[in-house]
């Protein structure tokens, strides 16, 4: 965004400190706007007609460096782009690149149905939520407007997910758009041959469009021309190539485009980028399914890390999707706030009154690691999770977020003593120095567990029965 200082933003806010936004002062709200943890529409007063000018000014000041584009409608609509930084620690990356999976107008109805349903229903539990897939890309292989139309109809009935219409033939695109114009699809793509006709379609249907050219001068020209024609809901495709020096060039172009937009302020290319890992199939068709998945995975990794804002896939092998959705989630996690889980008392497996009671912190990573270690070793147990503001064991012992008072409170509020009869608490090895004081404070017997929860199984063998 254009501004760095909350003061610049504050100057345009009502300055009434009404607290409606949840902040104590307009100044505090201004700093939240700068770090993008709050949005302008949370200020009720500025939405008033009297502040129209200020609102517009702020909206401009606060808009992200890379244009944010919405594809689709309703709950399933996706936001693409909207990024502000080149490296995630400088703020955070904002909008996870939606994953689109392809169907074609020469696939059988059965195949289309299977693929679309697979994408619709896919889910994977992770850090308290389900990771899901986002879009369907419809490729015209037939180049026949009628066939494409039929395919778009089918897909439209099968899914609410946002759709990408893919063809370089404007007549084909027009046929598809006619069917699905109300769903705000993304049109792929205008290139240096068809751009005038595609522009007419974009104006007619008012939908976002991808501009395609691996030549960055031409891509800039296309973008500049579309903006000049009054169309600025653009996504850029600088070309994804599957291997060798061409792949090296792909990596370079994505980085150069994003750097030019963010670091150099080049508005011509300040648009979201689309990556096409599906293109790996151009060279891996003769290879076995796994090798194909590997090729596509390499492009996926590079384009998630380096500035792909929307990715199109061909491969729907579950083992290839699984790591991809985790990488995307990890890279787009806000590095400014530690990921936390709820504090409380949790059952691991099927514990009874003789099962051990372990303690850990509510840092999500710690919690899920301990949980996974207990469950995968079949250790039926209770896990008491203490709220340390999302800080891990070692750091929270040092920083005081984990202390005997907190441990005592957690035991009392969860009534942890009532679920066990051995009155023994196992502290993490990294919290060993709290053990004496915790015994005094809680009246429980305290054992010190291993420093790494990966060793709990071994520790159980050596210590639990004998020491409890």
């Amino acid at each position: 965004m254009k501004v760095q200082s909350p003061l610049e933003v504050y100057n345009y806010l009502p300055g009434t400190n009404c607290k409606e936004c949840g902040e104590e002062t307009c100044m505090a709200f201004a700093s939240k706007l700068i770090d993008r943890s709050k949005t302008l529409d949370m200020c009720k007063e500025i939405l008033d007609e009297a502040y129209k000018e200020e609102y517009e000014k702020l909206e401009d000041m606060l808009s992200p460096e890379i244009k944010e584009i919405i594809i689709g409608v309703g709950d399933k609509a996706v936001k693409v782009g909207g990024e502000d930084v080149l490296y995630r620690h400088q703020l955070t990356f904002y909008n996870q690149p939606p994953f689109a999976y392809d169907v074609t107008d020469v696939m059988s109805e059965k195949e289309i149905t299977e693929r679309v349903n697979f994408v619709n229903n896919y889910k994977k539990f992770y850090v308290g939520n389900f990771l899901r897939l986002d879009m369907i890309a419809i490729r015209s292989v037939s180049d026949d407007p009628e066939k494409f139309k039929e395919c778009v109809k089918k897909v439209k009935d099968l899914t609410e997910l946002p759709i990408i219409l893919m063809s370089f033939n404007p007549d084909v695109l027009d046929a598809g758009l006619e069917i699905i114009k109300d769903r705000r699809p993304l049109v792929y793509a205008a290139n240096e041959d068809n751009w005038q006709k595609v522009a007419e379609l974009i104006d007619k249907y008012k939908v976002p469009v991808v501009l395609f050219s691996p030549d960055l001068d031409k891509l800039s020209s296309l973008a500049k021309t579309f903006v000049e024609m009054g169309m600025d809901e653009l996504v850029l495709d600088p070309g994804t190539y599957p291997s060798g020096k061409q792949l090296m060039g792909t990596f370079e172009r994505f980085i150069k485009l994003r750097r030019s937009a963010i670091k150099d302020g080049n508005k011509d290319v300040a648009f979201p980028l689309i990556g096409i890992p599906a293109i790996s199939s151009l060279i891996s068709k003769d290879k076995d399914e796994f090798e194909q998945a590997v090729s596509e995975s390499i492009l996926t990794i590079l384009e998630i890390l380096k500035y792909g804002d929307l990715l199109v896939f061909h491969n729907i092998a579950p083992y290839a999707i699984l790591p991809a959705i985790h990488l995307r989630f990890n890279i787009y996690t806000d590095p400014r706030s530690p990921v936390q889980v709820d504090a409380g008392l949790f059952k691991m497996g099927n514990p009874d009154e003789n099962s051990p009671l372990f303690l850990t912190t509510n840092f999500a990573l710690t919690y899920f690691t301990v949980k996974s270690d207990l469950e995968s070793n079949n250790i039926d147990s209770y896990l008491l999770v203490v709220n340390t503001d999302g800080i891990g064991v070692e750091a929270s012992v040092a920083g005081g977020q984990l202390n005997t008072g907190k441990i005592k409170d957690a035991i009392e509020t969860t009534k942890a003593k009532e679920v066990i009869k051995h009155n023994t608490l196992v502290l993490p090895g990294l919290a060993a120095r709290l053990s004496g004081a915790t015994e005094d404070e809680t009246g429980m017997k305290v054992l010190v567990g291993p420093t790494d929860s990966g060793r709990i199984a071994k520790w159980m063998e050596d210590h639990w029965e004998s020491d409890k």
């Binding site: 007619k204 020209s221 291997s243 995975s297 990794i301 290839a320 985790h326």
Partner: protein, 452 residues
């Protein structure tokens, strides 16, 4: 209507009229077709169909075109009428203003020529270049040496500065059979009882650049193998293969200094990488051993840039380790289990190094094998009934290792410690591709939509 022929206007005529009267705003509207607009003086008006206007101008611009034509016709003392007035808004009598004339959509004849420009990253410092292994001429017995580091740009940003060395892979070898994920185990079943055979297989069959011998049996909680006995495994590996090696302890902070000191002694002159010194243990003793016996040292901290600086400073100032003999391991967390922390920590370290921080300007190492700790890498299937199918683990596992390693290559890792042969192959191929070392198959993607 022959008598009115002189009053027929072709579209070309209208375009010329617009041009002549300086209606700039409509200049770029493409007027197509060969329709004629008929002027009927008898009725005192011009008959013009909406279809004609549609053919003249694209979509939304009809209203403005009509408006302009209407004005022009007025200049000629004519008026304009429509066959179906309801389909096109009637022009109004308001004066012509800039605002009204400015069309929202202006189709252009030609692309606006643009030249794409981008700045270069300018850096102050380059990463140290470290030599691993020593050949006969340098007092060792290795067949080759390996250089890592030396970068003068962010990883694979070859257009910004020189990147002289490719990332290398060391395969893990353990001094006792350990529990391995099924997908990994199948590749090593025949060699897990013999570190020498294990190392040979890693180099010969799986093309490891280096091997790491992990002396994990020395952990008091495992076998508590004495340092002297454990050092034999190091000698076995050095005899079995002639690539440079990494010597790792068990990670036990009390035992490692003694174990690594002994191992460094038996491998004297081989310029190994001693893994590792850590703030929680006697780093000085380990550092001194590495220095005394001619090895490199791995400086390992846990996801904390400041601790990494502190340990490096201690190795430089207290141990007086030469700068070109330090490699750093800022910790690798697996995909899904903290990879974001590891990635950003390494990326920040590399950015700081290139930006001039000489306490961080060392090549980085990654324990990528940690990927196999993720349940998604090794479990047969999801323990969560709600999850979609995870797919077969023999495919999922190596991909998990690739998905942990490759992002860290992009963050700046120079040396990978890995396990699965396929992951090793893919990581090496991809990193070499990004450095332009692999020509690859050239493809035309201009018609990819139909060809994929």
């Amino acid at each position: 209507m022959s008598e009115n022929k002189d009053l027929s206007l072709s579209l070309k005529d209208i375009q010329n009229m617009l041009d002549n009267y300086g209606v700039e705003e409509l200049k770029d509207i493409k007027i197509e077709g060969d329709l004629e607009i008929e002027v009927e003086p008898l009725s005192g008006g011009v008959s013009i169909t909406p279809e004609m206007l549609q053919s003249m101008v694209v979509a939304n611009e009809a209203k403005q075109a009509v408006y302009h034509i209407s004005n022009l016709f007025k200049m000629f003392g004519l008026s304009l009428s429509f066959q179906d007035i309801s389909t096109i808004p009637t022009p109004v009598q308001a004066p012509v203003t800039e605002e009204v004339l400015k069309p929202r959509f202006k189709p252009l004849e030609n692309l606006i020529a643009k030249k794409f420009n981008v700045s270069k990253d300018e850096w102050r410092l380059k990463v140290e270049e470290i030599t691993l292994g020593a050949t006969k001429t340098d007092g060792g017995t290795r067949g080759n040496v390996i250089k890592i580091g030396g970068e003068q740009a962010m990883p694979f940003y070859c257009w910004d500065g020189n990147i002289p060395n490719r990332p290398v892979v060391a395969l893990d070898v353990f001094d006792m059979p350990i529990s391995l994920a099924k997908a990994v185990k199948v590749h090593y079943e025949d060699v897990v009882h013999d570190p020498g055979d294990w190392a040979r297989k890693a180099v010969k069959d799986y093309k490891a650049d280096m091997v790491t011998i992990h002396l994990i049996s020395t952990d008091p909680l495992i076998k508590d193998t004495p340092a002297k006995e454990a050092a034999k495994a190091v000698e076995e590996v050095l005899q079995a293969v002639d690539v440079p090696i990494v010597i790792g302890g068990s990670g036990n902070p009390d035992k490692d200094p003694e174990v690594l000191e002994k191992a460094a002694e038996v491998a004297e002159g081989e310029r190994c990488l001693i893994a590792s010194a850590n703030l929680d243990m006697d780093w000085e003793r380990i550092g001194n051993a590495a220095k005394k016996y001619g090895h490199n040292i791995l400086s390992w901290t846990q996801l904390d840039m400041n601790n990494q600086r502190e340990l490096n400073r201690k190795l430089l100032k207290v141990v007086e380790m030469p700068r070109d003999r330090i490699v750093i391991d800022p910790t690798t967390a697996a995909l899904g289990y903290g990879l974001d922390y590891a990635y950003t920590n390494m990326e920040r370290i590399r950015l700081a190094a290139l930006g001039g921080d000489d306490e961080l300007s060392f090549p980085m190492s990654s324990g990528t094998t940690n990927a196999w700790g993720a349940r998604e890498a090794w479990m047969i299937n999801s323990p969560m009934p709600e999850d979609s199918d995870w797919g077969p683990r023999e495919f999922r596992g190596p991909l998990w290792e690739i998905y942990t390693g490759l992002p860290l290559a992009i963050a700046g890792v120079d040396l990978f410690m890995m396990m699965h042969p396929l992951s090793v192959r893919v990581l090496k191929e991809t990193t070499q591709t990004l450095l332009g070392m692999i020509e690859g198959e050239k493809v035309d993607i201009s018609n990819w939509i139909k060809e994929v």
